[in-house]
Every structure is written in C-alpha cells, then in structure tokens.
Symmetry: C2
Subunit: 259 residues, 2 copies
C-alpha cells in the first residue's frame, strides 16, 4: 500500500518512518521545495521521490498533506482531487477549511483528522472521523509509536474537537496572563507559581472533573467568593481590561447559581 | 514551647502530630465541641486537654485557629486577644477578614498564613507573611512532612496570594464548565477528555510559562483563531450566557494584540 506526502517536515518525517516500518511504500516529491527539505528527503533511503506532486497524488492510496494552515485548502483542492485514494490533512486547519475540503472531496475521499498532543512525544496520537475513519485506523494500525482513535463516522467531528480544545487552552492562556499580570503588580508572581504548582500538577481528568462537580454544587458560595476576588483585583488593576477574565468568571458563577 | 489549637479537625490533627514530634507541647480544649471531636482528642495521648479555650489561648506561645471561615473572625477577636504569643489562622479566610484580624491583633501577634495544596498529601505546605513570619518558620522548622515558605514581611501578602490562586482556579472551573457543556451538546465530551489529557498533563509551570509567552507573541493570530472559535461555538450555543468565557477570551486577545 502506498502513502504519499505533500510537504515533508517534522510531522511527515516521523509519520513516514512509522508507516514504512509497517510495510507502506512512502512517496513524496521535492518539486519546488526548499533546499532543507530536498536534503532531508535525499537522506532518507526508504523514500521514493517522484518528479512532481501530481504523480504522488495519482499513485497514492493514502495522501497526506502536512504543510501550513495557509496552504492547506489550495493543496487539498489541487491534489486531493487527483487521488483515487483517501486524503488526510494534518495542517491544523479551521473547521471552515475542513468543511470546504469535505464538500469538495466528499467523505468517500476525505477523512477528518488531526494529530493531537505533541508530534515529538513517544506516541503520535491521531484522531479520525468520517465514513472511512475506521479504514484508515485499520491501515495505520495502532502500535507503541502511533495511536489511532476513531471519534465517529461524522466528518467534521474532529474539526469540532480542535475548536473545543482551542476554546479551553486559549481560555487558560488568557487566565494565566491576567492572573500573573496582576500578581506581578503585587510582586507576588514567584510565590504564586510555587502555590499553583502544588494544586495544578495533579492528574488532569480527575482534578478537572472534581472541579466541575464542585462548581455546580457550590456555585452560590463560589459566586460570593468571586465577588470578593473581583473587588480585590479591581483595586490592583485600574484598567477594567485587566480584570476581564475574573469579571466574567464571576458572571459565569452567577449564571450557574441561578440555574 | 506550647502550641494551642482552637478547633480540632483534620488540619489540627495532622499539624499537631508533626509539631509534637518536633518537641512542642500540644494544647487544646473540647469545651462546647462535638462528640466526634471529643472522641478524637480523647484518643490522642500527647494532647493536653484544658478545661476551656481561654486557658488554651493564655498558655500558648503559638495559637492556631482551624475551624471554618464563618467562625474565624469571632474566634480571632475573642481568643487572639488573650494570647501573648502569635496567632495563626488556617480557615481559608478572605483578605478582608484577614485584614480585620491584623488590624485588631497587629503584626506583633498575628502572622498571615495559609495551608496551600492538599492537607492530606505527604507534605503540609504553609505560606507565611508578616513581621514574625520568619520566627514561625524557624519554630516550626521545615522537614519532610512540613514545608514553611516565608513570602515577605508584609502582612496581607499571603491573603493576596489566596485571592490570586482563587482567581486562576475558579477561572479554570468556569472554562471547563463552558467547554464541556458545549462538547456534550455535540456528543464529543468523552473524546475531548481524551484529547485534553494529551496536552494538559504536562508540568504546570513549564507549560504555563510557554503558554504565556506564545500568547504574547502570537496574540494577533490567536485573536483571529478565537474569532473563528466564537463563531463556531455561537452556532452550538443559542444562549449567549453559554459563550461567556470564549467571548471574553477573544476580547482578552484583542486587548493583547493592540497593546
């Protein structure tokens, strides 16, 4: 079985090695690519380097695009339509882009997919959804260095999960920034790191589920505490913009307690 | 040296054992206390049980209040004024309550203090601030089962740290609730737990500092991504109240990119 790569950086390099070891033929091209990529591809003996990407697309049973989010749509439209196999996009594209590709290629040729977690960790984690998700999971075959998770048959579900992940992790970033900008004004940022390290290094799922339960259960008390927190933080930060996260947290707990 | 406890639950029990092993005399009383507390205190042979808390207060070099936040102020005013030693409050009180106690007892008799992290973990972590914070840290003496951290000589700094911690952790709770309520509507909550477990189980300090740096560096791109996230989430959640956290996260990144 032939797997073709359009774009050959870190992701393609790791994935191609794993798939070659599983018996796949690995195809790519260096047409129009950087010297760095040409050198990398040239140094890997298991790669079959074709003269252009049209050929890669036509010959592949599975075609993988791993470039940048900006070029993802153009590549999908140009090469995805040339392949008779299945097209996968690992460019961390938005749900809109994913939907455009799905509309164009249909779920007979496109599987919604994403690498979650670190690419450079021991295990590559790939989440898949769509009619052909199970097929890909079977072809790639979970092992110690690659784990495939089929979310559902609905194309779009993996894209939704990327949005939900983004919603959470960027919210945490915004919270961290607001909290530590406030702590710095008080000269307490180093101590705060020490304290949060004591509570935040627990198992994520267990501690998060217990946070959710406690928040529903004690929403009234927590709302009152947040009133105090906001009063205090407002004294430290003159500018309302510096209290946005804590203010909305208070508002969120008001909604919860009134539900 | 004598350490007296007003209130004898989990915190006092663990702390008294550690301090007894370090050579302290441990005093308390069961005047007006529950049968459960009377039984617990009666079963511990190293405790000197006095007839009332006035006596405990008068005889103690260090007096520890470990009750509930509601009763903390009354206890501090009543018994804190009777002791010639140092009064410590471990009731997780608000900064306002802490300030009231400090005003009443002055920093010659009061040290701002809090137990951070889990009481039942291997090591009790106590943070202290105030003129006498170093004195307490020396008396109690860090060892494998107790760690004392002196934040500063400013009474109030430990209370501030409790507020900052609360600002962050309650914000995370609000984010978790909003994200997982949205994920549930899409039937994707179980998959989302799996995915976040891959990214959120890293070392807290390292991953948080890298989040802060990345957010400042790529605030414009993240703002644009959050516009997409918000568009998407608004389609899932009709009620604006269900999008509060993601909306303010977007707004926060708009502020960051315009700074």
């Amino acid at each position: 079985m032939k797997v073709g790569f359009i774009g050959f950086g870190e992701v393609s390099y790791r994935l191609s090695k794993i798939l070659f070891d599983k018996g796949f033929d690995v195809l790519t091209s260096v047409e129009g690519r950087s010297i760095k990529t040409k050198e990398l591809v040239g140094s890997i003996d298991y790669i079959k380097c074709l003269s252009n990407f049209e050929e890669v697309a036509k010959k592949s049973d599975i075609l993988i695009s791993a470039n940048s989010p900006n070029s993802a749509l153009a590549i999908a439209l140009k090469y995805g339509s040339l392949t008779e196999g299945i097209f996968l996009d690992f460019n961390n594209i938005s749900p809109d882009t994913s939907k455009s590709i799905a509309n164009f290629l249909s779920d007979d040729h496109f599987v919604d997919s994403a690498i979650m977690g670190k690419v450079l960790s021991d295990e590559i984690n790939i989440f898949l959804s769509g009619k052909l998700a199970n097929k890909i999971a079977n072809y790639f075959d979970s092992s110690s260095d690659i784990k495939l998770t089929v979310v559902s048959e609905n194309i779009g579900d993996v894209s939704c999960l990327k949005v939900l992940r983004s919603m959470y992790t960027k919210g945490v970033s915004a919270l961290l920034i607001e909290t530590f900008e406030t702590a710095k004004k008080l000269g307490l940022d180093e101590s705060l790191w020490e304290i949060l390290e004591l509570t935040e290094n627990n198992s994520f799922i267990d501690s998060s589920k217990s946070r959710i339960n406690n928040s529903y259960k004690s929403s009234k008390r927590k709302y009152e505490e947040l009133e105090e927190v906001l009063n205090f933080v407002s004294l430290v930060n003159d500018d309302e913009q510096d209290n946005m996260m804590v203010e909305v947290t208070r508002d969120k707990f008001r909604v919860l307690k009134n539900k």
